[in-house]
């Protein structure tokens, strides 16, 4: 195991030097770490220099393909976001929601939370939730009086819970595939795990800021938004309806009538194209490159992460990490589960489900005799926290981006208490899975 430890330290060391000493972008630092890890790991294993170079070159590119679908979704979602921002649709929707619900701020907050969660619920992706509904709700939250960091935190936690809430929970599906359990009966446990937390978190973070909401005082700040609403009327909301209708159709209905899912990138692009004609005039040649430029650092991180994981796996570092986590005493398994899965999620939350979620599902569902469905649901919730872990931190990074927070770590700090509550709750349900077996239906 010692050679693996050396490779592990080489990779982590190079990443830290790149990130902090040389101030390279995170994606580039991960590329350098993967390259150095591959050379050290393979040569130390006795592989010839030629073979090492050949394999490294191939694996670096192969690893990038692990995230090609996510990268496409991000690029297209950013284009959609830019279009609805520039067209004035975001402003209009914000002022409308505040006007209608300002008398019941708690209800408004819960409604906003469910709206943020919705795209995650039907796609199984926190990125989709944050970039679509999150970006739409960000100005509403800010206008309600939440500071940018708190608004970003609400959106990030909504994204996490949305990706786990039913009907589509990709994290649970990945674990199901790993242990051959059908994805049946998950609705109840997932509702039980996510909705109470969603209501708790949005009220915990948002209510202190909005409970004394004075609409009359807010009105002058909404002047610009109201004007856009009046100017374009209902037309300005059409891109939202197109997005909603396409999502519901392709994610929930299409598969039942034999129509193929066109995928989130196309749904975002079609909605963006519609947005070009429903509000203020937009120059696509200016808006699209700007949107893609905004998303480039995150896309680079994902490519770097792909290379990093591929090399970690090939050189045995991944196995070393998994074995280290599983070697701890039985009594501490729950602690290991609640710490190692989110930490591994720093490179990929779905990767964490496959690599660590599957062994823990066996441990709790089979070895310790728990209820398999409840165990898997709880583990998937734990895994969702991985989307807040740097460097990838997809939910956190995008929540920062849509709320205009420059340092994502501020959002992470704000979310620490909700995350701890989430982990304790999920850990409790995991350990006491049999007690929650009643929730398994459908």
């Amino acid at each position: 195991m010692t050679p693996y430890m050396i490779t592990f330290f080489v990779m982590v060391g190079v990443f830290m030097i790149g990130c902090f000493a040389l101030k390279w972008p995170v994606g580039v630092s991960m590329l350098a770490a993967a390259l150095c890890g591959a050379l050290e790991g393979m040569l130390a294993h006795g592989t010839s220099l030629m073979q090492t170079l050949t394999d490294t070159g191939r694996m670096m590119v192969e690893g990038e393909f692990g995230y090609v679908d996510t990268i496409l979704t991000i690029a297209c979602a950013m284009i959609f976001m830019k279009v609805i921002e520039d067209s004035g649709a975001l402003d209009a929707l914000s002022s409308l929601l505040i006007e209608k619900f300002h008398k019941v701020p708690a209800v408004l907050l819960i409604l906003i939370m469910f709206i943020i969660m919705f795209p995650g619920m039907i796609t199984g992706s926190s990125t989709a939730a944050v970039l679509s509904a999150g970006s739409i709700m960000a100005p509403v939250l800010i206008l309600l009086g939440l500071d940018n960091v708190t608004a970003g935190s609400v959106i990030a936690m909504g994204g996490l819970l949305g990706m786990i809430a039913p009907p589509v929970n990709t994290a649970a599906l990945v674990i199901c595939a790993g242990i051959d359990v059908p994805y049946v009966g998950f609705t109840g446990p997932l509702l039980l795990l996510t909705f109470p937390l969603a209501i708790l978190f949005v009220l915990m973070l948002g209510l202190p800021k909005v409970k004394n909401l004075d609409y009359e005082k807010l009105k002058p700040a909404l002047e610009k938004q109201d004007e856009t609403r009046k100017q374009y009327g209902f037309k300005i909301y059409i891109p939202f309806f197109v997005l909603l209708v396409l999502m519901i159709f392709f994610k929930l209905i299409a598969k039942n009538i034999g129509v193929e899912d066109v995928g989130m990138p196309v749904i975002f692009l079609v909605s963006a194209i519609v947005g070009l004609f429903t509000g203020r005039k937009i120059n696509p040649l200016k808006a699209i490159p700007e949107a893609v430029r905004t998303a480039t650092p995150v896309m680079a991180i994902l490519m770097g992460v792909g290379m990093f994981i591929e090399i970690m796996t090939a050189t045995g570092v991944r196995g070393f990490i998994v074995m280290t986590c599983l070697q701890i005493p039985e009594a501490l398994w729950i602690v290991a589960c609640c710490i190692s899965i989110p930490l591994f999620g720093a490179v990929s939350s779905f990767g964490a489900c496959s690599v660590l979620g599957v062994p823990f599902a066996y441990i709790y569902g089979t070895y310790l005799g728990g209820n398999v469905v409840v165990c898997l649901a709880a583990i998937s919730l734990i895994a969702a926290v991985g989307d807040m872990m740097p460097p990838t931190a997809l939910a956190g990074l995008f929540a920062a981006q849509v709320t205009g927070v420059k340092q994502y770590t501020k959002i992470l700090k704000k979310c620490i208490i909700p995350i701890l509550i989430l982990l304790v709750y999920a850990g409790f349900v995991l350990v006491k899975s049999k007690t929650f077996a009643w929730s398994v239906f459908g």
Binding site: T54, G57, G63, G124, D180, V184, D261, L326
Partner: protein, 395 residues
């Protein structure tokens, strides 16, 4: 400053182009690499195309060869599927050993060693696996085989949906249990998993087309037994086992007890095919055809999540320090195979498959004389394990 930025941009661009071309050539070579299955001197009497059983497969990457080994006397028939999951090399290699070595004297054996050819043509991103395996034959010839991916190549079907809704298409169940789900939601990537797409859809995705052809082939030729060869990671609960459809349980149980355990001293479990887990060969081919549907699993460290350094040697020797540690902690509760020896070589894994297939066919022949298949030249289990060189069993 501007000039400096331009130079570094050009350098980065050149490196990126070089890497893209370099990796592209490697991927292209793998995609187009053809394995040399040797039929000369073997008992293969003819080959057919899989598209014979699904017209929509013609001229696609999934239109593979079916090798037919016919005995002099008519009798029963069996279909052996290898390469369903291309990252499980013992399944693929066992099928090749059988088609090159088995000599049926009665009945017919059909072998498809690369049923998911698309999966053989690429590797899984993020898994860091080798591209090829090499074996040296008794004559000193080096033969090269694919090490591939668990799923079909995205070049053949992309993108994956968020979730894969498995359906049985237009098939009418012949032996479908009353309580079985006929549609099931699976992880999106399972849409490219050959062993989640049965009974298949004639004009569906490439993976579904292949599955459809297999189901149709079994029904058209009235094949009596189908055996799908796999490997599983040592931490997977169904391991070193035969998974049997309920109609094939007796054959599997008797083969285990009388031949594998008593005669050959091979520890093996018999697991019932779960009624509600759809898309798998042992379930769907048992439900939608009259064949006895079985699936064989054997432990393979090179596909597991705990594995250490991953290369061709690991796939062949099965020697892995991480699995050795895993076998020693928590009283071995983390693993479902005995890994105390610290290795699990491919010669042993293939030997288990070859011997299990022969035992299952023998048992069917004994229980159903009208379906009798007699085979000569079955490689000896002990000899395969002792020589520990799979190349000796390749032509």
């Amino acid at each position: 400053m501007k000039k400096k930025g331009l130079i570094s941009t050009c350098i980065i661009l050149c490196v990126a182009i070089f890497m893209t071309v370099y990796a592209g050539i490697s991927f292209s070579k793998k995609r187009n690499f053809v394995e040399d299955v040797v039929t000369e001197g073997s008992a293969v009497t003819r080959t057919m195309k899989l598209s014979t059983y699904n017209q929509y497969l013609a001229n696609t990457f999934g239109d593979v060869d079916i090798y037919v080994l016919e005995g002099k006397e008519p009798g029963g028939s069996a279909l052996i599927l290898g390469g369903t999951h291309a990252n499980e090399p013992a399944g693929h290699m066992a099928a090749i050993v059988m088609l090159e070595q088995f000599v049926p004297t009665k009945g017919t054996i059909y072998v498809i060693p690369d049923i998911c050819k698309s999966g053989l043509s690429h590797n899984d991103p993020l898994e860091g696996t080798p591209q090829y395996l090499h074996f040296t034959t008794a004559e000193g010839k080096v033969r090269t085989f694919h090490f591939g991916s668990r799923a079909s190549n995205p070049i053949d079907q992309w993108p994956d949906p968020d979730t894969y809704l498995h359906t049985s298409g237009d098939w009418k169940g012949l032996h479908l249990s009353e309580n079985a789900y006929t549609v099931q939601t699976l992880s999106g990537s399972e849409v490219r998993n050959q062993n989640r797409c049965y009974p298949g859809i004639a004009n569906g995705t490439l993976t579904e087309k292949v599955s459809y052809a297999v189901t149709n082939m079994i029904n058209t030729l009235k094949i009596d037994m189908v055996i799908d060869l796999h490997e599983s990671s040592p931490e997977y609960a169904v391991n070193n086992a035969i998974v049997a459809h309920e109609r094939a349980m007796e054959i599997a149980g008797m083969a285990k007890a009388l031949t594998l355990e008593e005669e050959k001293n091979i520890a093996i479990k018999v697991e019932p095919s779960p009624v509600n887990l759809r898309g798998l060969t042992h379930r769907e081919l048992g439900d939608y055809t009259d064949a006895f549907a079985l699936l064989c699993e054997v432990g393979n460290p090179s596909q597991g999540r705990f594995r250490g350094y991953t290369d061709e040697a690991l796939a062949i020797t099965g020697k892995d320090p991480c699995y050795k540690v895993a076998s020693e902690i928590h009283n071995g509760a983390l693993l479902y195979v005995d890994y105390s020896s610290g290795d699990f070589p491919i010669s042993l894994r293939v030997a288990r498959h070859v011997t299990t297939v022969a035992a299952l066919i023998d048992e069917m022949s004994y229980e159903y004389p009208d379906k009798e298949i007699l085979i000569d030249n079955v490689p000896d289990y002990d000899e395969m394990v002792e020589t520990d060189n799979l190349g000796l069993w390749l032509r």
